[in-house]
């Protein structure tokens, strides 16, 4: 009997202690944010969405190689000699047209590994998190600002130039080879002449003997 009363008392007490705690919280400040109306301020450097400042990108592909899930897809075309793409704001010369720069945010795991290797600091995370889509393809972000016609044009030009260069190179190679051949021939001739002369000089004493 006494035990039951005692037990009842401890239960009662512990419940009331708990109630006291909840009471204190009830009159304390609320910690809940009413989300769509109120929003939490994300700190600087929060990793929520990738952004590429394409004007500063030199197309070095380092970010794509650092990504563990291969969600960065870059295609570059070498700029032809008649155009100057200028420099980035950090002073690095740009040598490539960025014909494709896609980031698949559906695949991205927000690890930040692509951000560190960038030589011009042009790929970074921005604190923006409301970008859900109805279709998965909407999460592939296209950062290249070249128009399709432009892409075709630069590709064609680059191909032409590459072909031209290749031709020139071949020409040069051929010329070099010819030159080499000529030199070789001359050398041989020279050597032949020499040996003839030597023959002559060595045969002279014989003649004298006779």
């Amino acid at each position: 009997m006494l035990n039951t009363v005692k037990e009842g008392w401890t239960t009662f007490k512990s419940i009331f202690t708990g109630m006291g705690v909840t009471m204190r919280h009830l009159f304390g400040p609320s910690v809940t944010l009413q989300y769509p109306d109120e929003k939490m301020e994300l700190p600087k450097g929060a990793r929520a969405k990738l952004y590429v400042n394409i004007d500063d990108c030199i197309g070095c592909n380092l970010c794509a190689r650092a990504c563990p899930v291969n969600c960065i897809d870059i295609e570059t075309v070498a700029a032809t000699s008649d155009v100057d793409l200028g420099k980035t704001s950090t002073g690095n010369p740009k040598r490539f047209w960025l014909t494709r720069f896609n980031i698949d945010m559906a695949k991205c795991m927000y690890c930040d590994l692509c951000v560190y290797p960038c030589p011009t600091d042009c790929i970074y995370m921005v604190p923006e998190y409301e970008y859900s889509e109805f279709d998965r393809s909407g999460l592939v972000y296209h950062f290249s600002n070249l128009k399709p016609e432009m892409v075709a044009e630069v590709k064609e030009k680059a191909e032409k130039e590459a072909a031209e260069k290749k031709r020139q190179k071949e020409e040069m190679m051929r010329k070099k080879a010819e030159e080499k051949k000529r030199k070789e021939l001359e050398k041989q001739k020279l050597e032949a002449n020499k040996s003839i002369k030597e023959d002559d000089s060595s045969s002279k004493p014989e003649n004298n003997d006779s």
Partner: protein, 378 residues
């Protein structure tokens, strides 16, 4: 037909608990053989969250690319997972880590330990019907996550540690933020004790339930709070110190069977609560010792290409002994990475400790071993 009927024990019933069950802490399926409400046999079925961590790690072309994947093993204590991995890599590469890095790592790891225990405790209470403590635990955990977010940029999966250092330095107000948190958190532990730990209903639901005797715990290879709950003083931070843990003064709380039998659910629970206090002590000391200046990326190697060889390193994660076995064949990608996950081991003990208990108590037992299914399945 007759034969089959003869073999059936008609008082037995097989039911599935999970995979979508609110109190299995993830996607776990428990196959229960019941006699009325008494459990005769439990078979845990795992693998619903298997993501091939080990195989993934082997096909990465860089050792540092594995770190974000270790985060995803035990997503509740990501920093501790990273810590284990970078420790192993540093031993394999024989890198000396700057002191400032070690201090920051310890502070981060202990903050994460508190966050993880808060979640474990809150969810444990929730399993037993105590809804309020869960919310209060989460409010506190939120503050820790805020500190993490300001430093690393992420709230859950940080990818903050790098082999030989850290990805970046802490944010400028890190020290004051953490000190503020310590100040406000101390009284909250007392509040939690009032609300949950010494609540009579809670004690009635956890004391003498799921008793794990000392010897059984050791035989099963238990570690962390589960082992300490059974009264074994074993903490890798003390017994096999890594990083700079030998510099700090802290105690190892163990279960003492205060409310019932040694090694019951309450003991395992209270060990976690007391461990949070010890973590606070460690953080306090680490904040005092944290060197002001220093480059946290100075010892990070440009290219990681360890020599032929292998290493096993263990560290104390909030759930127990987390080990990484890494084998290298002198290339840029690991030849083999194996993780020894404490949750996996602890789940294996479930059949042994839940035999003969009620279904309602099984919920308490699963909650008290505090498993994370991401780590069990990997």
């Amino acid at each position: 037909m007759v034969e089959i009927l003869d073999n059936i024990d008609q008082r037995e019933m097989v039911i599935n608990m999970g995979p979508q069950h609110p109190s299995t802490h993830g996607v776990l399926r428990l196959e229960l053989v019941l006699d009325g409400e008494i459990i005769k046999k439990v078979t845990p079925n795992i693998g619903y969250l298997h993501r091939c961590f080990e195989k993934y790690a082997e096909q990465m072309d860089d050792y540092s690319k594995v770190i974000p994947y270790t985060d995803r093993m035990d997503y509740v204590s990501a920093i501790n997972q990273e810590h284990g991995y970078v420790l192993a890599m540093e031993r394999l590469l024989e890198i000396d880590v700057p002191e400032r890095v070690e201090y920051i790592r310890v502070i981060m790891a202990e903050l994460q330990r508190i966050a993880s225990h808060l979640l474990g405790i809150g969810a444990f209470g929730l399993d037993l019907g105590a809804f309020t403590p869960f919310l209060y635990c989460f409010t506190e955990r939120e503050k820790i996550l805020d500190i993490f977010e300001r430093t690393t940029g992420a709230r859950l999966l940080y990818n903050y540690m790098a082999v030989g250092g850290l990805m970046k330095d802490v944010h400028p107000e890190f020290k004051t933020d953490t000190a503020d948190f310590l100040k406000t958190f101390r009284p909250k532990i007392k509040e939690l004790n009032d609300l949950l730990s010494y609540n009579d209903i809670f004690i009635k639901r956890t004391a003498n339930i799921g008793v794990l005797p000392k010897q059984v715990a050791i035989n099963y290879g238990a570690s962390g709070p589960v082992l300490r709950g059974s009264g074994v003083q074993w903490d890798l931070r003390k017994n096999d110190p890594y990083s700079i843990y030998e510099k700090f003064d802290f105690e190892i709380p163990v279960g003492m069977g205060e409310m019932g039998t040694l090694g019951d659910c309450w003991d395992r629970y209270i060990v976690r609560v007391r461990e949070m206090e010890q973590s606070l002590r460690i953080i306090e000391q680490a904040l005092d010792g944290l060197p002001e200046e220093g480059d946290v990326t100075e010892a990070v190697p440009k290219r990681i290409r360890p020599k032929n060889g292998s290493i096993y390193t263990r560290s104390e994660s909030p759930r127990g002994e987390l080990g990484y076995y890494i084998e290298s064949n002198n290339s840029a990608s690991p030849y083999r990475v194996k993780a020894r996950a404490p949750s996996f081991v602890h789940l294996g003990m479930l059949p042994a400790i839940s035999k003969g208990s009620l279904i309602a108590d099984l919920v308490a037992i699963v909650g008290s071993i505090d498993i994370v299914l991401g780590e069990v399945d990997r």
